[in-house]
Symmetry: C2
Subunit: 122 residues, 2 copies
Amino acid sequence: MSRVSATFPADVFGEPDFLPEPLPEPATQSIRLEAVFGALSEPLRLTIIQRLLLESESFDHTCGWFGFDRPKSSLTHHFKALRAAGLIRQRQYGLERRSRVRTDDLNARFPGLLELVVAWTP
Amino acid sequence: MSRVSATFPADVFGEPDFLPEPLPEPATQSIRLEAVFGALSEPLRLTIIQRLLLESESFDHTCGWFGFDRPKSSLTHHFKALRAAGLIRQRQYGLERRSRVRTDDLNARFPGLLELVVAWTP
DNA sequence: ATATTTGTTCGAGTTTTATCGTACTGATGG
DNA sequence: CCATCAGTACGATAAAACTCGAACAAATAT
């Protein structure tokens, strides 16, 4: 893999200068509280958001990074639910699809929400 | 109706000296964040909690007070869901079952949560 | 080119949740 | 006693959500 590839992994060399466009997601203003609550009512999804908040360093993570023992199609389902509700932003880096929490958007729209997720004990 | 009846309505003369026992509800420590999120992911239930927070004066409210145009059995279902998740406390006053938000419990356990509900715009 | 890797899409089965009519209960008032 | 009133319980139907296998797609590595 080339050091200058447009798709090299963000967790090896840090964030690339030019990020791929995010996958389709709701605009900040149209994130709905009830949809956010629905997305976070599923323990696996709550875990995803919490771990992204607590263990993310300066880069985004693939869904494989979490190490969940679930079929890939189940993970796709949950990540899509999180993105549709406005909780995560996803970008495609070559093969990988990396996710980060939309922290700024969520803090602006629902202050205090992410603190609750961080404090959650499974 | 007697002024000293054990079951007179709390919204006419204020809170009685001896409250009826609350209906079965989860203990404060066992209220689960994911269950709370699930309960609040339903717009009607979100409305119930918001209105109890915003429009409740010093007394609890019956489910009829909200004026929802839904069958009674549907309302029973949603109020039971809110109580099971630990969001409301319900007491029986004669015929009526009155609800209040478990504000202290929820603020202690999930600080900031109720503010999000208050700020919600349907 | 071919295999490997990461993740998607489709579709089916299962479980949960919502909706709501009907019948019922228990307290109150005449 | 009998009617009324607030709300429950039951049960059926319908809609949503979760789970997951199988087949597929696209980028990468050799």
